[in-house]
């Protein structure tokens, strides 16, 4: 069953002078349990795709079904509820809240779910234990290394028990060893049944995914299928991948 289903989704950014098409008739289906990597050159629309997929940004046209529900006409409250219940986010810059310790950071999505204190505690402790940071739960982000911060971010994404995790360059700010640890963690999460969509520039990380797609000029190229839009693999390889 498709957890994420985008059909001909278009997102255009407009200013007084410029109109930029970030997603151009973007069509993609992600099945439940998939571990999908998304790659593409800088400015290709990867982040826009992730923002639209995560309901952090709207879109101008097309259809987007998340877990079978059309999200195009939902109110802010309903979108927030879906983000809270069904989506987990992992960011390149970790995005932990600096004033809150690890425990309280993981607690944030659970608070918005309105869970009772006892259940929140069980979930937080479990998530932090899973990422190996149970003993650091009272540390502030500034007292943790980059790898530890990202593991807290993973714990935060997991604690809410989402249907899908959207990860934006989760290893982008980490050294190779730590990046490997994070990837192993994500593989473990995926094995437990959680869908993962991961934007990455790292071919090694992309290789961990069981499905890889490429975005170019706001359009999708699914590397599982034949290259589309008239682009050959050689052109994709030549496309810039930095940033």
């Amino acid at each position: 069953m498709a957890i994420l289903d985008m059909r001909e989704v278009t997102r255009v950014y407009r200013t007084d002078l410029v109109e930029t098409v970030a997603l151009d008739g973007f069509t993609l289906t992600v099945d439940e349990g998939d571990f999908m990597s998304v790659s593409g050159p800088s400015g290709s629309g990867k982040t826009t795709f992730l923002n639209v997929a995560g309901l952090l940004d709207g879109f101008d046209s097309g259809v987007y079904l998340l877990d079978g529900e059309d999200v195009s006409q939902l109110s802010d409250r309903a979108l927030s509820r879906i983000r809270n219940r069904k989506i987990g986010f992992i960011f390149q810059t970790f995005n932990l809240i600096p004033d809150l310790d690890a425990f309280d950071n993981v607690d944030v999505p659970l608070r918005y779910q309105g869970l009772p204190s006892s259940e929140r505690r069980i979930r937080i402790d479990g998530a932090l234990a899973m990422v190996g940071l149970f003993n650091r739960k009272r540390h502030l982000p500034s007292q943790l290394s980059g790898g530890q911060q990202q593991r807290v971010a993973v714990a935060r994404a997991l604690a809410g028990q989402p249907r899908i995790i959207l990860a934006d360059e989760p290893t982008g700010n980490l050294d190779t060893t730590t990046a490997r640890e994070i990837m192993e963690l994500l593989e473990k999460v995926n094995e437990s049944g959680t869908t993962i969509v991961m934007v990455t520039h790292d071919p090694g990380c992309a290789a961990s995914a069981n499905r890889q797609i490429h975005i170019l000029d706001g359009r999708l190229i699914d590397l599982r299928q034949e290259p589309t839009a008239g682009l050959g693999l050689s052109q994709l390889a030549a496309a810039p991948t930095a940033g």
């Binding site: 952090l56 927030s80 983000r83 995005n95 999505p109 918005y112 809410g160």
Partner: protein, 444 residues
Amino acid sequence: MVLYTLRLAWRSVRATPWLSLVAVVGLAVGIAVPTTLISIRYVFARNPIPDKSDVLFNVRVDNWDPTAQFFDIKPGDPPKHIAYRDMVGLMESDLPVGKTGVASATVFVFPDLPSVRPYQAMARLCHADFFSMFEVPFRYGGGWSRQDDRDHARVVVLNRDTNERLFGGEDSVGRTVRLGEHDFSVVGVLDTFRPLPQYYDVINNAMGDPRDVFVPFELGLEEELGFSLRGDTDSWGSYSDYANPMDFVKRGEFNWIQYWVELKPGDVEAYRQWVDSYVLTQKSLGRFPKPLNNRVTPVMEWLDVRDMVPKQVTGLVIIGLLFLVVCCLNLLGLLLAKFLARSGVLGVHRALGASRAAVFSQRLAECLLIGVAGGVVGAFLASISLRVINATLPTGRVAAGVLLVDGYALAVAIVLAVLAGAAAGLYPAWRACRVAPAIQLKIN
């Protein structure tokens, strides 16, 4: 969720301690200025006897010089006092439930205790009804009777401080106090009694302490007892028509008494007519040369007549509130800058499930926390300001109300602070929650 919202707000306040400190101090100064001024105005403007202010009336009759408008009063109004002979005449009416003249005198007190030296005390000259009309609380005993008034009985009521000074605070009812050269029997001791303003004597003692001793009115005019009349007086006519000064005080157009009556609501108009008929009678005797111009004025209206709230104070309150508006704009700028700088954190909350309303609540809660902190500090500053103002005023007009004002100032400061915090925070909070989460995360 409310506690969690407050907790997040508190964390956010702590996350930028210096900015928060500047915001709180800025707001506190903005709160302190209008709070001080509003508190001062409150002392002047408050209803000193809310449950009876509409049944107690100040009575004035216009016995003044036909060639001149009385000064020191609103145009067209009669003099602020009445003459002794008019008080005696007005006392004849049976319509009032209570009636009393109010005046002041000084008298020397000769304590029995050798350790306490003789001293000059302020005496309140009044009638028996004074105590019931103005709801005077007693610690011991009570007031004297109307018969005592008629008999010129040498009785006295002590205020609490005087009883403390002369009798160590004991029940002194039945004991004697030497006033001037005569003994007076103590019939009552006041409990704490400090109406602010002292509406029954706004002319001479609006904000001061209650008088030390209270004695039947007529005793103040018995020269052998040693009382010296004190307070504002107005007169016209010639002394030479009278045998001596006291004769002038008693029979001349010498105004020095504030006269009060307590009326049943249905009797007010009838009493006004009675007063007019009294004056018409006096006219037939050759007095009251001016047209009828009498006043039977309830408490709050009387305070207004006497301009108990100076226009300058009201003007200063407005200026103080404008100053608060400027401080709010400053706070608004600070909060706007802070919220935009911390947009990323808001974006994370939004990504993790916070609705726009939840983020708005969190930001507003932060503003209110700053507001409440500013209010508490502002109330403290206002309290200091009131004391400084009091110390610099020779009459201590404000001071009398300082203790009373402390609670009021705190309430005013907190209300102003919450309103200011909310007013200053609404726009920044609204702006913060309007930004799309994707943009906020990008800022991060």
